[in-house]
């Protein structure tokens, strides 16, 4: 069997942002008629690679070859014209227009400047029909559920240039997390369409956080970690454990001594109890208990539902069903205020958009939660406030140690510490940390982990979410394992629990 020519070849791709090297010399190949998975955790460089490919970002180094010719795209439009189409997680269509218009807008059939609606609808209907979909092209897009809108987006992108010649104009179709909010039937319909397009010779690049889906529909995969290529494999050659190992990697274990600490079992009474808590499209109903002074780590891949679980426990999203009791009292969880009043604190993984107010100073950001709880009429007295702020700036070693500095100008690690300080001064009973160590330097990482241990020793319960398994293993008394939006297992930390054990649990998805 002769080696086929790749339709797309990217070699030595480098992309740098101020202070970060997002991609360092990544190679990537895509063959016609294959569905290729791009795998990696947060910060691995997946989305950067896609954005470089689709012309959203410019290249800092390396070459792109499309159909044997060197290519470089300055904008998504140029990439589209060259035959690379993208469908994103959020449907980038106009819900107020009809399906047919969404497929054709920008290249509507016209005669003397007049749009030929009949012809447009007919051609749209034909295209939809040929792809085996049952969609009324005259209906407004918004009358269809998200899943169908997603399919329409695909129809639009493969329809590009279809009228100019025979067959499909698109050579490469990039699907960036199209399945994250679809249910099973909808996913199957999407897969059917993907396979049909593959059989017609389209090269499909597929990003999904659902491992099962990767194994179900993909032929080959490329795995990235920390901006570098760690492997290209045929899907059938690499099992799930191997894949997860490639994605997560083995971090250097410099905090081993902490591990011993977390093996003790003298935990306090139950603090938080969730029963049947769940939210459609977020996480399947789960039961969970967290004891006083316990660190509960959540292990699972990105998109496995770990953030969704945390948000439900904080009332950031409203649960569809289930109930939560904290310290024996039921909490309504209709808004974050309820959770905060019950002593829950939540540091979001999105520091910038959901955590800090970048325009305000370090001091203001630190006292915000405490002040919100006190209400606007009872300001914290200046002396007490300054003393509190100074104490936490010192305790957490926030730099610069200037309470007047604007938070937006601090480095990531220091911003994270400000966020931590904000919640620590409210003296919460349960502290939820969603990827507190993401995107910060190793020194700050270590400090934050040590802090978690000392907080738990003082009796605070912590829900700890991290992408790195070692981190979870090191800090947690108990480990909750998530997979595909379900809490699948709960492991009590002990000598027999290792990263590979957790990996197996994630991969198999069975509770032990």
């Amino acid at each position: 069997m002769a080696e086929p020519q790749p339709v797309l070849e990217m070699t030595g791709i480098v992309k740098e942002f101020p202070g970060v090297r997002a991609l360092s010399g990544v190679d990537f190949r895509l063959f016609p008629g294959e569905i290729h998975a791009l795998m990696g955790e947060n910060g691995a460089g997946k989305s950067t690679l896609i954005k470089v490919l689709t012309g959203v970002y410019s290249l800092d180094g390396g070459t792109i070859t499309l159909d044997g010719e060197s290519a470089r795209f300055g904008s998504p439009l140029q990439a589209q014209q060259a035959g690379i189409s993208t469908v994103y997680q959020e449907v980038n269509l106009c819900p107020n227009l009809s399906v047919a218009e969404n497929i054709f807008i920008g290249r509507e059939p016209t005669r003397a400047g007049r749009i030929q609606w009949k012809r447009m609808r007919k051609e749209a209907a034909e295209l939809v029909d040929r792809l085996g979909l049952d969609i009324d092209v005259a209906a407004p897009l918004s009358s269809y559920p998200l899943a169908v809108q997603q399919l329409v987006a695909i129809v639009r992108s493969v329809g590009t240039g279809a009228r100019d010649g025979a067959g499909l104009g698109t050579k490469v179709l990039v699907l960036d997390e199209p399945t994250s909010s679809l249910d099973r039937d909808e996913v199957l319909e999407l897969f059917r369409l993907m396979r049909q397009l593959r059989d017609e010779g389209v090269a499909i690049l597929f990003v999904s956080h659902f491992l099962d889906q990767i194994y179900e529909v993909c032929d080959r995969m490329t795995v990235l970690r920390n901006g570098t290529l760690v492997g290209e494999h045929l899907v059938r050659d690499l099992d799930q454990v191997g894949l997860i190992e490639l994605m997560i990697g083995k971090a250097l274990d410099q905090l081993e001594e902490l591990h011993e600490h977390q093996l003790r079992s003298d935990l306090g009474e139950t603090l938080v109890k969730a029963e049947g808590l769940g939210r459609t499209g977020g996480i399947a109903p789960f039961d969970l208990e967290i004891n006083k002074g316990e660190v509960l780590g959540l292990a699972g891949l990105l998109g496995s539902g770990r953030t969704e679980l945390a948000r439900l426990l904080f009332g950031a999203d409203q649960p569809d069903n289930g109930r939560v009791t904290i310290g024996g009292k039921q909490v309504s969880m209709s808004a974050p205020n309820d959770a905060i009043a019950a002593g829950v604190a939540f540091c979001s993984e999105n520091r910038k958009s959901e955590g800090l107010v970048p325009d305000l100073t370090v001091r203001e950001n630190i006292i915000l939660a405490l002040q919100a709880a006190r209400g606007w009429t009872r300001p914290i007295p200046a002396s007490q406030r300054d003393e509190l702020v100074a104490r936490y700036i010192k305790a957490l070693d926030i730099r610069p140690a200037d309470p007047e500095a604007r938070v937006g100008r601090l480095s990531g690690g220091n911003q994270q510490k400000v966020l931590l300080a904000r919640w620590l001064i409210t003296q919460p009973k349960l502290l939820i940390l969603d990827e507190p160590t993401r995107g910060i330097d190793i020194g700050a990482k270590t400090e934050i982990q040590k802090l978690v241990v000392s907080l738990s020793e003082d009796g605070m319960s912590v829900l700890y979410i991290a992408a790195e398994l070692e981190e979870v293993l090191r800090l947690s008394h108990t480990i909750g394992v998530l997979r595909d939006r379900r809490l699948v297992a709960r492991l009590t930390n002990g000598p027999e629990i290792t990263t590979s054990k957790i990996l197996e649990t994630i991969a198999s998805g069975e509770h032990q």
Binding site: L97, I105, T110
Partner: protein, 343 residues
């Protein structure tokens, strides 16, 4: 202390069909226009029964709605383009006032022929709109603020031309203003005819040209429109240019209607125009609506004025209050519709 996991229950599907129908109906973009049209008819029928003996039933009363509101219709059509694209234009009233002043000054004080003045005035209005669109798009400043500057600028230019009102005694203007076109059941003025032509052209442009569809697309979701490869900047600038042009044309019609130029003409008319657009069912956030709806919006506003005139005892300010109440009602309707569409 073991974790149990429950499989997600299948969502109940019993009421899906009827709910889908309700959603469809509420989601139908024609609904607001129909509501406005129905409101208009109801008001008209109400007026008929109440003022039958005062000649409300005369066809000319109906046609007068167009004669008396032709300029507002044109201005509102311009505003429809802007609002449809998700923007707002506060300079409408000022541009109208400026145009009346500008033309009156050129015709009366400078003695230029009307044939030359008209295209000049239209060009100035369109250029003003173009400039505002250019600044809005290229420097990413909120349309609200940029057109606010436009409001100040054109009103100021009015006053720079003259502080006093200039009445127009030009013969050609007089003839144009007096000309009536008979329709059998009544007659229409030149201004009303022009307004109807603009309406037809706007309908065609919005529904049958790529430009028109781009306006809808940008109003629906600007980010998506950009990612779909639509020329965002050109469209936005064009939309404001159209609005400036329409405002200038409305100014000419207003000048024809009132036969004078005055620095305080059409103060606050942008509010009437925006109100007409919203009452006509166009979403203020953009992307949804019809020019035909704007026609009904203008007619409803015009009818309120006529009813108040016929009532006799009601004073003119009831127009403003009624407009505000209608505006409020339609904004709340829009709000419930959009929030329902999301779920």
């Amino acid at each position: 202390m073991s974790a149990t996991t429950q499989t997600p229950k299948a969502a109940p599907r019993g009421s899906t069909a009827s709910r889908a129908r309700a959603t469809r109906l509420l989601g139908d973009r024609r609904l607001p226009v129909l509501v406005t049209a129905a409101l208009f008819i109801a008001m008209y029928v109400g007026g008929l029964s109440r003022y039958q003996n005062y000649g409300f039933g005369e066809p000319q009363v109906f046609l007068n709605l167009f004669i008396d509101n032709g300029y507002l219709l044109v201005a509102a059509i311009g505003a429809t383009f802007v609002i449809m694209s998700g923007g707002i234009d506060l300079s409408v009233g000022s541009v109208i006032g400026f145009t009346t002043m500008f033309t009156a000054w050129l015709v009366e004080r400078q003695g230029l022929p009307l044939l030359l003045v008209v295209p000049l005035a239209l060009a100035v209005g369109a250029f003003g709109g173009f400039l505002m669109g250019y600044v809005i798009h290229n420097f990413e400043i909120q349309p609200f603020i940029v057109t606010l500057a436009g409001l100040f600028l054109f009103r100021g230019l009015c006053l720079v031309i003259s502080k006093e009102s200039i009445s127009i005694n030009d013969a050609s203007v007089g003839t144009l203003a007096q000309t009536r076109v008979s329709l059998g059941m009544g007659e229409l003025s030149i201004g009303a005819l022009v307004a109807l032509i603009v309406l037809a052209v706007a309908c065609y442009v919005l529904h049958y040209t790529r430009f028109g569809r781009r306006v809808y697309a940008i109003g629906g979701n600007e980010q998506s429109a950009l990612l779909m490869g639509l020329p965002l900047g050109g469209t936005k600038i064009a939309v404001y240019t159209v609005s400036g042009f329409c405002s200038a044309l409305a100014g000419l019609l207003f000048m024809l209607y009132i036969q004078s130029g005055d620095p305080l003409h059409a103060v606050g008319m942008e509010l009437d125009a925006i109100a007409a657009v919203v009452i006509g069912g166009t979403l203020l956030t953009g992307g949804s609506g019809y020019v035909l709806g704007t026609l009904f919006g203008v007619l409803v506003l015009g009818l309120i004025k006529s009813v108040i005139t016929f009532e006799g005892t009601l004073s003119s300010w009831w127009t403003k209050i009624a407009t505000g109440v209608l505006l409020c009602a339609f904004i709340l309707i829009q709000r419930t519709m959009t929030s329902r569409r999301k779920t």
